[in-house]
């Protein structure tokens, strides 16, 4: 049997449990958890195996013809694995978290079924070998996420779901149009470093620019580029594990990853520079970064603040790619992983606060550090990482972004980074400070988890601490082999093989 079937197995390892879970009865908790964790564990192993293979330089590729000239291509390159590993690892953790989080609430089977579908779609996105395949999984992701957004079923969450759909479906339609157009101009090429559009720029410069804009706008909806972002803060009505995995990792990253693919593997950096597309993309990213931060500053609701922070932080990825130089690319791509780790930590913490003490607002965090020190510690590490305090993961990203900006002689981007970090500090430090140093006189009235041995349910606390530790390790041990930075350097080396460069 061909080793490429591994890709199918990886997809199936979450899809099959997901579909089975749909048909489980509500009461069969044990079986459902076993299916979930079994699938997640299996996927982790398979992805790990694939990781080694890709590093060796093995080629994994599967194709099927959908229409004449339209192929479904699954392929694994180092960039795919960056995203796939991240989502697989976090899926595993989030599943444990979600089991703890949803204890005692209804509609488990539905929730976990769609949850697994989402992960399948995300991994599908990671392993998409061309734009069309990407679009297919991208839209499936939209479809599979919506039920999770509206899971609570309140009027507010239904409204959020509507908004989410309105944005993402419109984005998908735009992408479809762009991809058809591109396929008409250039055929449907596979993703490959340096892109496959070379030579077309003489003939269709305007069209290529327009298509680029459409693609970026289409992916920008999920990546929450301003002004296409406003679904994201609203979607925070979803349960915490959903916000955590989907809005910190899967959905927004899918958008950012799409932009990465378009810039790196469809257009190619040379063409992007030649057509002058880097500057507008950079500008969009910078505007988003600053705008998101400013909005986060004025949000009192913790999850809302985190959501706006996501808006801002995801654009670092876009920014890094838009810089179109090796160092910037390292910064952007490594932030794909780092931001995911840090943001999921923060969302887990927000979930813990809400679940344990019914804290939803920053202003209510006073003194929470005494009651839930470990969660607060994780929150602090996540927040400091987001600000870019060394040696946490966010610093590594910002460092490379800064160097990347200078490498491409975009000094203003460095200024934007500084301003945005300042804003990050302005909205992330107050909750941290309030949590540790604020004084709460009255006892916590509605404690849910009093009977637990730890400060909260172990299934909530364990994943939180684990992701926090991974986020810290990603920064502190960035120099080790197989660290995100190391892997990203490998990707960038392959991408920039001819031009070289690096520190």
């Amino acid at each position: 049997m061909n080793a490429s079937w591994l890709l199918i197995f990886i997809l199936m390892s979450s899809l099959v449990p997901g579909l089975l879970i749909f048909f489980l009865r509500e009461e069969s908790h044990g079986l459902r958890t076993a299916l979930n964790l079994g699938g997640a564990g299996l996927k982790l192993i398979l992805v790990g195996y694939l990781l080694l293979g890709v590093q060796r330089g093995d080629v994994y590729e599967l194709r099927a013809v959908l229409l004449p000239g339209v192929e479904l291509v699954l392929a694994a390159d180092s960039l795919s694995l960056l995203f796939a590993t991240l989502s697989t690892l976090l899926w595993f953790v989030t599943t444990i978290y979600a089991v703890g989080y949803l204890e005692g609430s209804p509609n488990h089977s539905r929730f976990f079924g769609f949850f697994s579908l989402c992960v399948s779609a995300t991994v599908g996105i990671a392993f998409s070998g061309n734009l069309i395949t990407f679009l297919i999984f991208y839209e499936i992701l939209t479809l599979a996420t919506w039920p999770l957004v509206v899971h609570r079923g309140t009027a507010q969450s239904l409204r959020a779901g509507r908004l989410y759909l309105a944005y993402t479906l419109a984005g998908g339609a735009l992408l479809l149009a762009a991809m058809v157009w591109l396929a008409l101009l250039a055929g449907s090429g596979d993703f490959k470093p340096g892109g496959y559009l070379m030579g077309l720029e003489q003939e269709f410069p305007t069209q290529l620019k327009l298509i680029f804009a459409m693609l970026v706008a289409g992916f920008g909806v999920k990546a929450a580029l301003v002004p296409l972002h406003s679904w994201l803060p609203r979607a925070m009505v979803a349960p915490a594990p959903v916000s955590a995995l989907l809005h910190a990792v899967a959905v927004v990253k899918a958008g950012a990853f799409g932009i990465v693919r378009v810039v790196d593997d469809v257009y190619g950096l040379t063409l992007v520079l030649e057509l002058g597309l880097d500057l507008p993309l950079m500008a969009a990213a910078v505007i988003t970064i600053v705008y998101g931060s400013v909005r986060a500053l004025f949000a009192d609701d913790i999850k809302r603040r985190l959501a706006f922070s996501t808006v801002s932080q995801v654009s670092y990825i876009v920014l890094g790619v838009a810089l179109a130089g090796p160092l910037g690319a390292v910064g952007g791509l490594v932030h794909l992983v780092h931001q995911g780790l840090m943001k999921i930590t923060l969302f887990f913490c927000a979930g813990n606060f809400a679940e344990t003490l019914h804290i939803h607002k920053v202003s209510e965090l006073k003194g929470v550090g005494r009651r839930m020190p470990l969660t607060m510690l994780a929150f602090t590490l996540g927040a400091l990482g987001m600000i870019g305090a060394p040696p946490l993961a966010g610093f590594i990203s910002k460092w490379y972004l800064g160097l990347g900006a200078l490498q491409m002689e975009q000094h203003w981007v460095l200024a934007a980074l500084v301003v945005s970090s300042l804003l990050n500090a302005a909205y992330f430090l107050p909750p941290v400070i309030r949590g540790w140093f604020g004084r709460r006189e009255e006892p916590w009235h509605d404690e849910h988890m009093k009977h637990h041995r730890f400060e909260t349910h172990w299934m909530l606390l364990g994943p939180t601490l684990f992701v926090a530790a991974v986020a810290v390790a990603a920064g502190v041990l960035a120099g080790m082999p197989y660290s995100p930075l190391d892997w990203v350097s490998l990707i960038v080396e392959r991408e920039y093989a001819p031009t070289g460069g690096g520190l």
């Binding site: 959908l66 297919i136 839209e139 479809l143």
Partner: protein, 479 residues
Amino acid sequence: MFATGLDWAAWAVAVPLVGALLAGLLPRLGPVLGLVFGLLTALAVAGAVMGVWHEGPVRAGLGGWDVPLGIALSLDGLAALMLAMTAVVGLAVSIYALGYLRSSQTRGKFWALWLWLWASMNALFLSGDVFNIYVTLELVGLAAVALTALSGGAAALGAAMRYLLVSLLGSLAYLMGVALLYGGYGVLDLAALGAAMEPDKVSRLAAVLMTVGLLMKTALFPLHVWLPPAHGSAPAPVSAVLSALVVKASFYLILRLWLDVFPVLTVPGFELFMGALGAGALLWGSLLALRAARLKQVVAYSTVAQLGYLFLVFPLMAVTPGAWQAVVFFALAHACAKATVFLAAGSLQKAAGHDRLAQLGAVMRKEPVTVFAFGIAGASLVGLPLTGGFIAKWLLVDVALQGHAWGWASLVLAGGLLAGGYVFRVLGHAFGRGSVNPDHRPVPAVMVWSTLVLALVSVALGFAGAASLELLALHGGRT
């Protein structure tokens, strides 16, 4: 192979016809007969499709009698695909109906009428001359009206009556066109007519009468008003068949006529006019689907909207001659998806005892598989990937952009978004915290699973694009 594709095609007409007679005579055996003859018909259709696949388009007189007085059958890729579509949807609907009509008074009549309708549609797809088409059209119309009236309530009868009048009016207009054509050219055969066609006044008049008559039966906006009540008040399997297949039959004829007979008459104004009607249908149907308060109304108006896509074939063919294949594939995808949606709606209605959206939430939560099937089919209607709808939308956008028809491409995409609006509006109720419905009647498993299987066919269509296009390329009309 013991028989040619055409033999199989003839069996595809004869088998359900015999089944209809037997079911009419032995109403108590209806379900068994329906299932057996349904399966046999599907088998015959499979033979016919394989025949076309291997042998290419064929035509022959039935029983050795050729045109003009005999009945000629003509089988090409397009017809085969329509037969296949009817067979797949028909089979699923038949199985579904086993459960749906289990306790119904009308099940005896249903099977006879349904097999009759199936036979008529197959005959219609296979007809090679304009007058035979008239006869089969009338047969389809009458059977469809009878099925609409089946539930016997005031609403159903009113809707059926309206449908009957519309149908007869359309047929007569069509027949007048046939008369004029015969007067002009002295032949009735589609291919012969197409070969002889001159852009003169009589031909144009005939084209107008035939087209508008068929438009009426296709329920194109603004002649759609008979459709929502008819589809909304009929039993679910009937709605599914009407919405998925019967309107497609008349559209198939319009397409046939303009592909094989009237192409010389096409002018930009006409293409634009038809495209405008399609756009109107798309927008108007979507708007009303977005506001409808009852589930089956939503689905019926969705049909009105999606039929609009079909008529984009005219402006699209003007820019890209191969556009009709995209539209036919769309019709195929829509048939599967819409039938699924109607079947799912029927299950929900059965479970809840009503189909008022606002009070349906609790029941939807108790029928996850049905809602899941609804979701998949809905995704196909919206044009989300890995469904037939996605491929169809891709093809439509592709042909539009090939011809630089930006407007039509945007319309196609906008239509998908509007579909998203009403599909997810329905699905949203499954997640809402709506009132708990105390009397939830469990739905027979056969209904649930047949719906799901048909939904999966929509998914399968997502991978059948290439094969379908290949089949359509075997087009024998103008040889």
